[in-house]
Symmetry: C2
Subunit: 306 residues, 2 copies
Amino acid sequence: MPSAATNAERFRELHRRHRLFVLPNAWDVPSARIFEDAGFPAVATSSAGVMVSLGYPDGEGIPRAEYLAAVRRIAEKVAIPLSVDIVAGFGPSVADAVETVRQVIEIGGVGVNLEDVDPATERLRPLEAQLERVRAIREYAEAAGVPVVLNARTDALTHGAGTARDRFREAIRRARAYRDAGADCVYPMRLVEGDAIARFLAESPGALNVMVRPGLPTLPELERMGVRRVSFGPAASYAALGLLRRVAADILGARSFERLLDGALTFDELNRLARPAHGSGVAQDVPPSGRARAGPRRSRRPSRRS
Amino acid sequence: MPSAATNAERFRELHRRHRLFVLPNAWDVPSARIFEDAGFPAVATSSAGVMVSLGYPDGEGIPRAEYLAAVRRIAEKVAIPLSVDIVAGFGPSVADAVETVRQVIEIGGVGVNLEDVDPATERLRPLEAQLERVRAIREYAEAAGVPVVLNARTDALTHGAGTARDRFREAIRRARAYRDAGADCVYPMRLVEGDAIARFLAESPGALNVMVRPGLPTLPELERMGVRRVSFGPAASYAALGLLRRVAADILGARSFERLLDGALTFDELNRLARPAHGSGVAQDVPPSGRARAGPRRSRRPSRRS
């Protein structure tokens, strides 16, 4: 498995090319491994996806240790760069946020999302307080030798004061300040429409993350506009659970289970997702150049279900 | 929340009616809650679904405590009867299997699946050794005052000796013996075709569980044949991950994320699945008769994502 520093550099490089990349957010091991096998260059956690899967609403209500244990399970099985949503840092202090990043690096994460709403008040953190976190994380990561990619999320468009115009201006102000403080990418929550994205990029050039949602321009359009990164947010969970809801309605209504079988994995395909892509279980044996993502797996064990 | 004994009786009653019911198997909290909200009368864990989601292949490779911690998370959030796949009992001895059932009851499970392949040898356990487990679990559950529904799985059709005919005969022999020893339902793995199911029921009448898979007769046909229970096995995981695979192919191939948005849940819908169906968080306050499953939730919190 490539070193953390190598993976962090690879992940950062994706933000520097003049191309768009899609960052899928997973909620558990097999959802992450499906994305890796498909050929995505990196994968992220969705905080809402992971937390709800464990029975917690999105936010910092889950104990940090329990959240990061779930992240670790994913990190142990994927070789591509893994970015971790750390919400607002898990704790009231700057030191808490840095400690969270320390643990993310220890687990093998090479990117973090940090948002600027204080979970204690559900309001925007004052800009200077958030900048302290951005700077402290940047400094810590450099000192640790793993140049973690910092995606600075701002909720100014939804949580800012004043008119829509005021909130947009606040989001721009924050984006610029976060970039100056060392953020590699900025992520304005609820920046969706093409016109707004274009204006945002004109006023705060640099790597920009937007989230897949209805109303977002197409990927080719986003690329032409100069957007660098499109993340799923919790959309993989929304989609998978939406499918189960349709399956349930079919079975209880029309008494048909066809939808459950349509395009489904096999038992062996599911079971293989519990293992690293190379199936060796000894990640160190895999040279970085040999990380083919969609090839056949080595180890096969008898199927218990087939 | 209804008492464990009440829930166990409700679950057992489903096996006694002359009707078919579908038992969906979940892999985590929201997949279980989706099925509960849809109106299924009970829900089960899929061992493969849960284990792979945690990064373990299906089987007894996962520590029992880690598996049951995931089951507990589900049990804490659903009010309908929950059945737990305990593989072959988690451990070599009869006492191990009984201890697993003790822990399942403690968590709130009211049903168990027990299979007859010994994970240590990957061969069928001798019938008498398996019967000891069935009887010991039955006795323990009665003494504990929670009449757990025991679904006895046999892998004789795939792991038995001799010809297909010999294996079928062995499966019948085991089904009869398991019923006589106190199993509430039998589950012959790989019993799929209509003719074989009809023959099986003729030679071993009683509650029969089959798994959803290609080639299985339709639900109305199964009901006419007298099948009582159809479970998903890991099919919900197969389907959800199959959808993610198609989503990934669309994005990396056609550069379209439409499939990710089609029929998806909203953030609020996802977040609510982390809470019990009634949203009160105080399950004891909910009278059993008031367990409406698809109604609106009470507690709403501001959305972090919308």
